[in-house]
Structure formats: C-alpha cells, structure tokens
C-alpha cells in the first residue's frame, strides 16, 4: 500500500529476521527499531507486538515523525494515554490507528445507510468475531500476557469494539464475561460483552479464539429494518465472502411473518480498506489536515471499553497491572 501510493516512498523496514523478506528489496533493512527512529523518514508505520507499540510511537512522535500505529494501541489504558500525551505535545504531527474494518466495503455501505436516517435509529448491535485457532496458535505471542496485554478481545475483538463505537458513539455501561477454558492461556480465549449507552442502545459482542472457522458477523437492528454484515474480504478469503443484507421492517402482524422476507444482499468483491486507510493518512500529512477518523480519540475509546470489560469480568489476570 505504501509503495502503491504516488506520494509515499518506502525507504526503511525494521525486521529482526531479515531472511523473512524474500528477494531483492528497494528499501533498506535494519534490525533495530532505533535505526528507524534515528532515520530521515517522515512517517513510520508501527506494526509490532503490543508491548513495543507505546514506546516506539511516543519516540517517533517526539522526533517529529508522523505515525500510523497498528491496533491495539498498546497493552493498557496507560499506554494509549502516554501516546495521546505525546501527540498533544507534538502539535502538527499526524497520528492514525489501524482500525481498517471501518473501511471495509460492507461497513462503509452500512454506515452510509445508518447515517442517512432512512431506517431510523439504531436500537442494538450484535457482533461475532472469531478465529479458528490454528496449529501454532498456542505458541503465538498474542496469547502471552506480558507481550500482548490481553487475549482475543484485545487482539481481534477490539476491531468490533471500534465498529460498535463507530455506529453508536460509545457506551456508558459494560458487563463482560471471559473464559480461557479451552486453550488455558493466562488470557481469555472467549469474551462476551454486553454494552449499553445513555440512549438505551444495546450491543452484544462475542469475541472468540475457538470458533474453528474464521467468522465475522455484525447485525445492526434499526427502527425500520436491519442490516446484516457477514464475512470479510481478505487476501486468503478465510472470513468468507463479504456481504451486507438490507432488510426492511415489513409486517406489523407477527402471524404474517415469513421465513424469507424481501431482502437485498450485496456481495462485495473488492476490499479497499488498507488503501483507503493509507490514502487518508497520507492526505492528512501532505495537506496538513487533522486526522478525523481512526484517530487517538477512537483508539482511546476502544481501549477504554476493552479494559472496562476486562475489569468487569473479574478475570484474574486483568485485576493486576501490566509491568
């Protein structure tokens, strides 16, 4: 995506194991992150394990480098607070976060329908996001609390949390349950959260590492109908075909309810989410625009909600601070 953008040039990549990069590269490869921080690069994409994110982001911002930071924004709420403080102290430096699900075609279309107001107010959201849990899953750093700071909810569920915030603005109440009953990690392999805001809008999330199939489903229930997002376009296609079902409230008499009501199903064939994200970041830098989407406020809100769920769940590991 960086190389495809006409105004961006990839000059440097930090990779501790350069052999992972096949073939001859047009960019310099360094092993230590400090070399990136000390480089002449104008902008840095931080795609490291969670424990490295806050320090690297803060250092880059302090050195005047624009930062695109992958999610989650660190391990704890303090991590994102530090990042936000560094952003405030370095006015004019752009900071954006990798909540790319906002830019998936199905989500964009659903958001435009919701925003148009044609189907009334959103009453509730129901999200399911999960992984199959592959062969090496139990050895992944993502399940090592010291490195990741959380389990499946922080790693993947945060995307759905961000979408919930996108559609409903935020939540004042959070009830949550965590379980590690299958994999037995320190961190959760399943999380269920029930959320509510001051407008009595509800949301339910199931984030799971034991679905045995990659799955993404988001249902948006509105006053005049419903939207069902299912699947996510990806390189491997492992989340299935991305679709959006648009259904309208059609009958007032339940006796007339039919199993297959009039609906429209849109099948999306092209995912431009990464491109849109990178283009937006580049546009903010080049034209000195404020980052209005996937910004530090969105990252803070998502992280805050994840950690409110963690605290509410009583899950042991989250009752102590990360060191």
């Amino acid at each position: 995506m960086i190389e495809q953008h006409p105004d961006l040039e990839l000059t440097l990549v930090c990779e501790r194991d350069p052999e992972k990069l096949d073939g001859e590269q047009s960019f310099q490869i360094v092993r230590e992150p400090q070399a990136v921080i000390d480089s002449e690069a104008d902008a840095v994409f931080i795609c490291t394990p969670n424990h490295l994110i806050p320090e690297l982001t803060v250092q880059c911002l302090t050195r005047g480098k624009h930062v695109f930071c992958e999610k989650p924004p660190g391990r704890t709420l303090n991590d994102i607070k530090r990042i936000c403080d560094a952003e405030s102290e370095n006015h004019g430096i752009k900071l954006m976060f990798g909540f790319n699900h906002r830019y998936h075609p199905g989500v964009l279309r659903a958001k435009s329908i919701v925003d148009s107001g044609r189907m009334g107010k959103v009453l509730a959201l129901r999200g399911l996001y999960g992984k199959s849990g592959g062969k090496n899953f139990e050895h992944s750093w993502r399940n090592d609390f010291a490195v990741s700071g959380g389990g499946i909810l922080l790693d993947q569920g945060i995307h759905m949390i961000d979408l919930f915030n996108l559609f409903l603005g935020g939540f004042t109440s959070a009830k949550a349950f965590m379980s590690n009953s299958h994999w037995g990690f320190e961190v959760e392999d399943n999380a269920v959260a029930i959320l509510q805001n001051d407008d009595n809008q509800l949301a339910i999330l199931h984030s799971s590492a034991t679905l045995w199939k990659h799955m993404f489903q988001l249902n948006i229930i509105l006053e005049q109908g419903y939207l069902k997002l299912e699947g996510l376009l990806s390189k491997t296609g492992s989340y299935g075909r991305e679709t959006l079902v648009i259904g309208r409230r059609q009958f007032e008499d339940e006796a007339e309810a039919v199993g297959n009501p009039s609906e429209e199903t849109i099948y999306f064939d092209r995912d431009l989410s990464w491109e849109i994200e990178v283009n937006h970041f580049a546009d903010c830098i080049i034209n000195d625009k404020p980052v209005l989407e996937s910004n530090s406020t969105d990252a803070y809100k998502a992280m805050d909600l994840v950690h409110r769920c963690y605290r509410d769940s009583g899950f042991p590991i989250y009752q102590k601070e990360v060191k």
């Binding site: 329908i113 297959n260 009039s262 609906e263 429209e264 199903t265 849109i266 099948y267 999306f268």
Partner: protein, 333 residues
Amino acid sequence: MERAVIHSDLKKQEIQPQPMLDQYIALLNEDIKKMLPAGSLQNVFCPVTGEQAVRESFRKMDMQYKISRTLGNIYLSPRPAMNVLNTFYRNSRARKFWLNELWSQTQDVRQDKIILPQLEWSHGFISQYLSESKLLMAEFLPNHWGYYQGARNLWPEAAYKLVEPLFDLDISDSKISASNIIDDSSSSTLDAAFLFEALDRSPEPLLILRKVASVLKPGGLCFITCLLSSGFEVQVLGQESEIFVPPERMNLLSYEGMNTLIEKVSGFDVLEFSTPGVLDIPNVIKQLDQTKNTTFFRYILKQRQDAELVGSFQDFLQMNRLGTFGRLVLRKR
C-alpha cells in the same frame, strides 16, 4: 465490483394490469403504423461496436430487431432518430394512455416497489461517495416524472434536472416546472447522473454515456438501470418474450455488450453490476408454456413444485448476473 441479490414480491400484474397492458399495446401498434413509417427510420449497426454482422433478426409490432453477432446485443434497426422519437413520444396516444391511465392506476405500487427502492439504492452510494451538501443531479431521457417526484422527497436540498425528457410536460399537469429541464450541461458540473432505462430507449446509447461522462464531476456517480439480452428471459423465451416493445425498448445490450459500452466510454470505474430482477413465476410459467424447448425450466419452475428450488434458482441467476434487469453504478475517475 459488487453485485446485489434481491428477494422481492413484485408481480407484473401489479404494475401492468393485463387489460390495461393490452390496451396500451393496441394503441402502440396503431401509433407505430401512423407515426413511424418506414421512410422515417434509418438503418443502424450494433449501437455499441458498429458491427454489421447479425446472428438473426425478428419483427415485433412491425419493427425489426437485430441480434449482433459478437456480443449478442439486440437492437432496433431501422430505428427513428432522436427528433422523430421526440415527436413520437409527445404525440403518441399510447404514451398518453400510459401516462394518464396506466400510471395513475399503478403509481402507488410503482413508487413503492420500483422507484423508491431504486432511488434508495442510489442514495446508499451517494451517501458513501459524495460529500457535497447541495448536490446537482440529472436524469437523462426520462419518459415519466416518477423518479423526479421520488428524488425530491429523498434529496430535498438537491437540484434535480431532467435532460431531454421524452414526454410531453403538458401531460404532467404542471408537476414539473420548465426550470427543471436542461437540454445540456456544461462539463464537469454534475454530482450524479441517472439513466433509468435511458440507454435502452436512446437511439445513440454510446453518445448518451459519453455525454454523461463529460458532464459528471470527477468522482461523480452514474446510476444505470437497463434490460439485458443476456438475461434469463431473452435467453430462454427468445423473441417470444414480452420484453420487446418498440420503439421504447430500442437497445437491449448483453452483459458483455454493456461492459464493452462502458469500456468504450473510458474514464469510468464500475462499482456495481448486478441483475437483481426477480422472476414473476406465474407470468414466466405462462410464457414458458407457450414456448418450445423450455422443458427443463418448466420442470424447475413448475413441475417440481419446490419453492426452495425456485428461490435458489432465482438467487443463482442474480448471483451470476444472468437476470434480465440490470443495474450499474459507475464512478467517474
């Protein structure tokens, strides 16, 4: 490029009650005889590629349709030029009957099941892709005021213009003021262009799409609905299909033909190409019963008596862009 699959319960009878349809067709036959004599028509080749070779030709209401050899586009030839067509639409008794009688009786269901869903479909894309608060939109070659009325409710702030309307405004009982009519637009001014079956009824579809490309702003959207010769109805029923109604159904492009047309008018990205029409099963069965060599489809749609099979067959057609009704969204680069 996205595609849509729709489950809907629209029945042909609701929008075209048979007695009224019969009367309309009878009047149209008379109008064609009187107003489109052979001397007023001109021979044309495939309106997309200019190809001269045809697979076959057939007659409907005394007018001749040809099927282009390479792309399977079906087109009226000889056909009236735009000025002849304008006179025809403004003086045709059949059109007057359609606007005053048929439209009045079916207006509510047409608005509810055809016009509003199509406008809402375009609304979804406009909300997603266009950020201007005061939009400039234009409908090309409309032959009634239904979309204009619906659009005014959906986009009260927008300016909605009609380009080359093919109906007499006096008939519309002052529903549209003259200020809403534009014959031309300066280049790169429009946010959105609507071609609701306009390519079907245009003597020069390539010219119309080129004009749209020139008047749309970069990033502007073009919404097209059309009937496709590659769809189930024409492929199965052939010339027996009730779809061939001259001179309005002047061009029925195939899926490939439509893509070629868009490629020829360079500068568009295709965001959506769907064929979301739903078969009106009783009507299709009636037509299949009158058509040879359709045993397999009669079996699927009638003899098996399996609603799920019929449903999945309809989904199959739509999923694979094999339906007769096409809809497209183009975005100007």
